[in-house]
């Protein structure tokens, strides 16, 4: 009679279930190994004098040099791109749980970074509002579909159960399910708009007329006063988001955005460009004039295809993937350390009433700064190596996780005789929040990976580096294969992250920014 063994409930594990400590240890060891493999060379000789001039620009911003229209376009692209993406995402969320094909399509949409989407869309739609809006809408549709589906999944079903038999599915959805999830969906969508503004800013770096367009010029030519002013305007936009993005302002925003869209200079022949892009440009070169199924030549065609693909695989995909994973791993561990150091700055029990507001402003500022822009600036200051990319990723993500952890720390209830200072931090707060911390970190893993790949465009030898080269050589077929490979790596990391979260039993903890921004409206905040 051994009462504590319940065979049916506890299946024999195939391998020992990893604990928090083991997973942390393995990530740290891998991060250290990656650090040894990473190229951390600083090529610039006077990074400090450049940094000083940059900070000087922030202190003495030149607001007169700011191109007003770029602010308008940034908001307009974000509103319409996110609106379209969220709308499509909502429609996709309904069949999301039932159809594998929908889930795969959404995973692919969100695994391709918006900058890659923009580079592809530009081939057909040129430098136009359509390119800007679709580059945001496509990946955001994939992200929103997944998150909305999760929200719908988690919702309370009690209203549905009391509906009379024979209620039609549309009414059931509209009256019993929607009211349950609408608040969460709304909070998430509004938060997405903030992300959308970061994304549209970054699209300016490749030529769309948003704030990023002028920021890039200003940085490149050393006009730091103008750059500082543009950044401050952008922080103001993000910081005031809650004031101007509300339920009742939405119709005004959408209408205003449509009216404010920049007129296209010149026009592309969309039909002909689309046909050429799909029918020729992205078709692998050996297949442009041959068929893989033609009965007499299929063998040669397959051989030619392999001869074309092999050097891409060995010379670009494999080294690019390795470098991308190395960068992401170092950045992830650096993010973890950064977040653990930073979060006390915003938590009531650690920062005093003077320090806490400063800590909050600091973390909100770094979280509002797009990591691509941080990397661009750091590369200008330090030269092309992995170091600026690591700095950019870890500063931005440590800001995000640190801010959220601070909020969770404030939500904990302590015993009246709890220790203080370092003892409280090390023996109570961190241990109690550690599961939540790992959940956030694992969730950011895939996002960090996507950004790591895109940083190649800036000169770090990750997958984006080879995409940039292929586009410069007008080999769009190679670029398409590389982007596909990047998407597959991102999907694999996402799957690994989910598996780990499940096996650590932290899969149910909140990982979305929006869900802690409005703690009352959704999942419990405390770990």
């Amino acid at each position: 009679m051994r009462l504590h063994v319940l065979p049916g409930i506890l299946p024999a594990p195939r391998w020992p279930r990893p604990g928090y400590a083991a997973v942390s240890r393995w990530f740290a060891i891998l991060g250290l190994a990656a650090l040894l493999a990473a190229d951390l060379h600083v090529t610039s000789l006077h990074p400090w004098s450049d940094l000083e001039r940059l900070l000087g620009g922030l202190v003495r911003p030149d607001f007169l040099a700011v191109e007003g229209a770029s602010i308008l376009y940034t908001v307009a692209f974000a509103v319409l791109g996110v609106g379209l993406g969220a709308g499509a995402g909502f429609l996709l969320a309904i069949p999301y749980a039932r159809f594998r094909a929908v889930r795969i399509a959404c995973a692919f949409l969100r695994a391709v970074h918006e900058l890659f989407w923009a580079l592809l869309l530009m081939q057909v739609f040129g430098l136009s509002a359509t390119t800007g809006i679709l580059a945001i809408a496509l990946p955001y549709a994939g992200i929103c579909a997944k998150v909305y589906a999760e929200i719908i999944e988690e919702a309370d079903l009690s209203a549905l159960r009391v509906l009379p038999a024979g209620s039609d599915p549309v009414s059931a959805f509209a009256y019993a399910r929607l009211p349950e999830v609408l608040a969460s969906i709304r909070a998430y969508t509004f938060y997405r708009l903030e992300c959308g503004m970061r994304s549209t800013l970054v699209l300016g770096f490749i030529g769309l007329p948003t704030i990023g367009f002028y920021l890039e010029s200003a940085f490149r030519q050393g006009r730091y006063g103008e750059a500082g002013a543009l950044m401050l305007v952008f922080y103001a936009l993000i910081g005031t988001r809650r004031l101007w993005v509300r339920g009742w302002t939405l119709p005004l925003l959408v209408l205003g955005a449509i009216l404010a869209l920049p007129p296209m200079v010149g026009s592309t022949d969309v039909g002909a460009s689309l046909a050429r892009f799909l029918g020729h440009d992205i078709v692998p070169a050996p297949l442009r004039h041959a068929s893989l199924l033609a009965p007499d030549t299929w063998l040669e065609t397959w051989a030619a295809l392999w001869a074309w693909f092999r050097p891409i695989l060995t010379g670009q995909i494999l080294p690019g993937t390795l470098q991308t994973l190395v960068l992401a791993q170092v950045a992830l561990v650096a993010t973890a350390i950064g977040a653990l150091v930073l979060f006390p700055l915003t938590a009531r029990h650690f920062a005093g009433p003077v320090a806490r507001p400063f800590g909050r402003v600091l973390l909100v500022t770094v979280r509002s700064t797009p990591e691509y822009m941080l990397a661009y600036v750091a590369l200008q200051l330090l030269g092309p190596s992995m170091l600026p990319a690591i700095l950019a990723l870890s500063i931005h993500n440590a800001g995000i996780i640190g801010y959220l952890m601070g909020r969770h720390a404030d939500g904990l209830t302590y015993r009246p005789d709890a220790p203080r200072g370092l003892n409280l931090y090390a023996y109570e707060t961190v241990p109690r929040l550690y599961g939540q911390f790992l959940a956030y970190l694992l969730y950011r893993w895939e996002i960090i990976l996507r950004e790591s790949a895109i940083f190649g465009i800036l000169g770090v030898a990750t997958l984006g580096f080879y995409v940039d080269a292929a586009i410069a050589e007008l080999r769009l077929d190679v670029a398409a294969v590389l982007i596909l490979a990047t998407a597959l790596v991102a999907i694999a990391v996402d799957a690994a992250s989910r598996a780990l979260r499940r096996s650590l039993r932290i899969a149910d903890l909140p990982v979305r920014l929006a869900s802690t921004d409005t703690p009352r409206s959704s999942a419990p905040v405390t770990a």
């Binding site: 081939q123 430098l127 929607l178 050589e473």
Partner: protein, 294 residues
């Protein structure tokens, strides 16, 4: 629910806008749009192309617009998808664009572009001196090209490097290889010592030297390359159909007729002369031998 109906309405309105937008803009006299590869300081580009736009509008009798792009491939893309009808390309980007758009022609080049040169420049700390022969001592140093698709900043220097070190790629010859993005930036990077050696367009070097942006104590020219054909104005083959018969000839005459030093100076050119696609055939061969063209 209302919010969702609204969002749905937005989606449909948007699709309408996205689909009908370009078509609606096409209606009356279609503006003639051009671009140029962003090979140097943007303020200089804005100055020169702004002047060209005003000049061409007077000569051609159609609205002329300049659209700025952020990198070389974006200029080629704007030409291949038809957003621009005319472009100021480098030798290599011109070849790329004309191969992608059958019927397009090179119509005018700068007088200096028939025999263009690359300068290899080095930071003073390297101790490298100017020589007539290819400076083989640059092996093992850090090296920056300009844009990946630049003729004088990538294609030709890579060709000369492969010639001087047979069987080796630039990545094998140098400790580190970078792509600065444009020629002004190449000069800045070598001047600051971020890279020891760089390859730069000689006309941009001259313009930046004149503008006082080059510190002769930190960076100097160590080698002048043999000559090759470079920049040119390339026009799409379909402009006669859009803007009327004889438009290409009119455009060519207008470009060759530019005598105003205020326009020519920011280009670093003395005048524009007629040219044909055949003048750039040598670059196709070079492109194939370096693997940048199929």
């Amino acid at each position: 629910m209302r919010a969702w109906l609204l969002r749905l309405a937005t989606v449909s309105v948007l699709w309408g806008a996205a689909v009908s937008g370009p078509a609606a803009a096409q209606a009356p006299s279609k503006p003639f749009v051009f671009t140029g590869i962003p090979d140097q300081d943007e303020s200089r580009l804005v100055e020169r192309f702004g002047k060209v736009a005003t000049y061409l509008e007077g000569k051609l009798g159609v609205p002329v617009r300049y659209i700025p792009v952020k990198n070389y491939p974006a200029a080629v893309t704007a030409f291949t998808n038809g957003q621009v009808q005319l472009a100021w390309f480098g030798g290599f980007t011109g070849v790329q664009a004309r191969r992608a758009v059958p019927g397009s022609q090179a119509i005018a080049q700068g007088a200096e572009d028939a025999a263009f040169k690359t300068y290899f420049i080095a930071n003073a700390a390297t101790g490298l001196q100017k020589s007539a022969d290819f400076p083989k001592a640059i092996a093992g140093k850090t090296f920056t090209f300009g844009s990946r698709a630049s003729t004088s900043g990538r294609l030709m220097p890579e060709f000369f490097i492969r010639q001087a070190f047979p069987g080796q790629t630039p990545e094998q010859v140098f400790e580190r290889v970078g792509f600065s993005g444009d020629h002004s930036r190449t000069i800045q990077l070598v001047q600051s010592g971020a890279f020891a050696v760089g390859a730069v367009d000689y006309s941009v070097w001259d313009l930046d030297s004149k503008a006082g942006k080059v510190d002769g104590k930190s960076v100097s020219v160590i080698w002048e390359s043999p000559t090759f054909p470079d920049y040119q104005w390339t026009v799409r083959g379909d402009v006669d159909a859009t803007y009327g018969a004889g438009f290409t000839e009119k455009l060519k005459a207008a470009l060759i007729g530019i005598t105003d030093p205020a326009i020519l100076e920011p280009f670093g050119r003395t005048k524009f002369t007629p040219v044909t696609n055949a003048a750039y055939e040598p670059l196709v061969e070079v492109g194939r031998s370096t693997g940048l063209l199929d």
